[in-house]
Every structure is written in C-alpha cells, then in structure tokens.
Subunit: 225 residues, 2 copies
DNA sequence: CGTCACTTTGAGCAGCTTCAAACCGGGTGG
DNA sequence: CCACCCGGTTTGAAGCTGCTCAAAGTGACG
C-alpha cells in the first residue's frame, strides 16, 4: 500500500485515491478479528484509525436506555475510527460481521501534511455519505430505503471487484432494519415482495439482483403526468 | 480569533477548543449574507471553509426528483463547508435563515499541521453529531425527535451566552419537519401538545422551555417496572 | 434429534401523513 | 387607513404505512 502523492483539491478529479492510501508500509500493524468481536467500543480511548483489509464491519451507537442504531457498514478499503478524533474517545461500537483483518494506523504517525489532506478527504466523504443516509431516513419510504441499500451495496461490491448482481449479506435482518430505520419484519416482507416482483431473488442471506433499473425506479418514481 | 496551539489527542480533554480556532487573523475575509441568500450550492466548486460569525444557516441536500432533506442548522461559532473537501465540489446547499456574516477560510491556507489537526477534530465532531441525527431519525418517535431538537437548540444557544430557556426559532415548521423527518403538521401538533402539557410555551416562533427535565423524560422514557 | 438464532408470514392496530379548511400576522397597494 | 393577499401556522378528519404481537418455518450445530 504505497503512499500516493497528495493532490491539490482544486485540481482535476484525482485518479481514484483510495482511502487506504493512508496506510503506510512503514507502520503497518495488522489486527485480526473473529466474527462478533468488536474492534472498539463507545468510550474507549482513541489512538488509531483502522483500514479494513478484509472482512465486514458494522458500527452502531447506543443510547443509555438500550436503544441503538446501526450507523454504517464497512468493507475492505474503508477507514474506520474517525469518530474518535474529536474527543479522543470513540463514540461508537464497531463489530466484525465476519472474520476480518484491519490495518492499524496510529493517529500520531499521521504527521505528513499530504497524508493529513488525504485524511480530510476521507472524513469529508464520510460526511457526505452520512448526509445521504439522513436523506434516506428522513424522506424515503420503506421500499425506497431497501432499494437504496441494495443498490449501494451492489455498487460498493462491484468497485472492489466482486459481482454487482449476486452477493451474500453479512448482516442480519435486524441489522438492516436498524440501519434503515425499519422493523425487521418490514425488511423481510420487502425482500419477499421484491422477490415476488422479480426485482431480486432472495434466499435467506443470498441476494441476486435481477432488475437494477427497476430498483432505481423504486427510488426515483417516474413522473406521472 | 487567535490560533490556539494544537493539543495532542491523547492528552486530557482540551479546554474547550472552539471550531473558530481555524480562523486566523491573517486571512480573515468576511462575507455578509442576507436572509434567504445562499452561501453555496450543490455542485459549486469548493475552495474555502466558512466560520459562522453571526446569524443562522440551514444546510440541505436535494435529490434529482425534488425531494430534499435538511441535514443541519448552523449558528455562530460553527464551521461549514466541510462537505466540499472530498470531491472539490460542494455536496449541499447552505442558506442563511437571517442576515448573517461568515468568515472565509481558504482551504489552501490551512497548511499548518496544528491547524490541520484542529480541522480533523472539527470534522470528527461533525461525524459524531451526524450519528446522533441518524439515531434520532432511525429510532425515535416524533415527540422524542422534537424534544431532542429543542433540548439541543437550547444547549447550543446557552453555550453561546444566550438564554437556554427562551428563544426565537429561525426556521419554519417545514424546515424543522424536514430536519426531523416529520410532516410540518406533525411538528405543529407536537408544539401545541407540549404547550398544553406545560413542557414549553409556544407562540409562533417564540419558544420558552418550562420543564427541561420533562422534555428529557420524553426522550428517555422512565422504566416502568 | 432437539435446540437455538434467525427469518418468514399473518392479523390488527397506532402513529403519522395527507388532504382540507380556517387562522394569523405582516406587507403592499389602492 | 383599510382591504387584501400571501406565506406560514394551526387544527380537524380520514386513511395508509409500517409497527407490534404472534406463530410457524428454516437451517446450523451440538
């Protein structure tokens, strides 16, 4: 994982800088996690960021009274731990959804200005992503939320060289429901309905996308006029 | 607005670093905006961050089909524009809700490593705040959302020296509804109900908090057992 | 073979949205 | 100065979406 040169934010679109550019060869400590193991918990002292090397994670925030909310899923090539920088304590729980491997990036080692700029980009991208989730949670119907979720997952997998149309869900219906602000039963019913309508094929956690265009049409209902 | 020295993230909680520490005397260009004027729009080229000096802003994201979502409100002392760093184009619209003044912080001028660290903190705090909003949108009932909104507003105003218990809402019911993922009528009804229950007093956009503890109890329903 | 966690499916209900109408306050122009 | 208008707000009534509760189905694992 070489360190790429920093690019000026004004310049033409950078040729696909990966989040993982933050990972320098020099300081690459790895850490393995088993399924259901947690990388860090709320309140834990912050001292490093983590680049996901392999595997799959969920992050969630928990309220005093037990209510919780899954705020994101993270796959290979993404950086997690950003929530800890502001207070030097982590503000979320990160749990591995399958056996995974992360690369530890001690925050102190990020002195290089170019790398810091790269970190800005990574954080900014996370902010923009969060805005998208807010839009989803704040103004979409259940079917649209699930469609967005599937399309987004498909696109991210494709970007990593996996099949865009057929994949295995690492997370439970409860997790999906929590992420999308829906009851698990609603998620299950929607999977069944999308299957019945031949938008997708579902068998438990195995999903095949049959009609991506139709899924997009669920999200952006065509004007009737 | 002096530049405060960077603090090590490991060290004891920093003595209230303000977001505005990013604003250096040397490069303080100001910009005035009238009510309803927009600071920037989606797609516009990014080249600076903005520190809010006075006034009040809303930020919102818009979908192709017109659906939109207000993703935050911003008051004096907060930094906006962070969404533009990742792609060098802004990903949201920022609109002034009253005559306002911002301080322009050209991104290029943020070379000092200490300042960059400070920027990391600001962004990280924004990420944590967003997680809170997701929790709100994903797992709270309407009354809880409004209570959180009011308590949060109260707390932020207090932190800036304004009254915590009495204030003027700068945004419309529609804006509040959009932010909280509710219809404007629901927001209005809840205001009326909170008023009837003597949690608050409302007259149009003027709000007085009568019983903050009870508002908190709305958010965290006391265990019945 | 039984258990256990997860998923599917059904039925009824509640909370919130939608539609509709009235109200309120401020600004404008006759 | 008043009438009117207009955006924003309040309130009511009806309907639908998604939740809750409940029960049965599925697959993995000991």
């Amino acid at each position: 994982m070489p360190i790429r040169p920093a690019t000026d934010p004004q310049s033409a679109p950078a040729p696909h800088l990966s989040d993982m550019d933050l990972v320098s060869d020099a300081v690459s400590t790895r850490k393995r996690l088993k399924r259901d193991e947690s990388l860090y918990r709320t309140g834990q002292a912050f001292n490093a960021l983590y680049g996901v090397f392999s595997g799959f994670f969920k992050s969630c925030v928990v309220l005093e009274d037990g209510r919780d909310q899954i705020t994101g899923f993270h796959m290979a090539g993404e950086v997690i731990g950003l929530d800890g920088i502001s207070t030097a304590r982590h503000a979320a729980n990160i749990v591995a959804l399958e056996d995974s491997e992360v690369c530890v990036i001690p925050y102190d080692h990020l002195k290089d200005p170019a790398l810091q700029r790269q970190l800005h980009k990574v954080m900014s991208r996370a902010l923009v992503r969060d805005q998208g989730v807010m839009l989803l949670l704040g103004s979409m119907r259940a079917e649209q939320r699930l469609a967005v979720f599937l399309l987004n997952l498909s696109q991210r997998l494709a970007a990593r060289g996996y099949s865009a149309n057929e994949f295995h869900l690492r997370m439970s219906r409860i997790d999906i429901g929590s992420y999308l602000g829906l009851a698990l039963e609603t998620v299950s019913r929607l999977f069944s309905r999308f299957d019945a309508e031949r938008l997708i094929e579902v068998d438990q956690r195995h999903v095949r996308i049959l009609d991506a265009a139709a899924l997009r049409a669920v999200v952006f209902p065509p004007h009737e006029s």
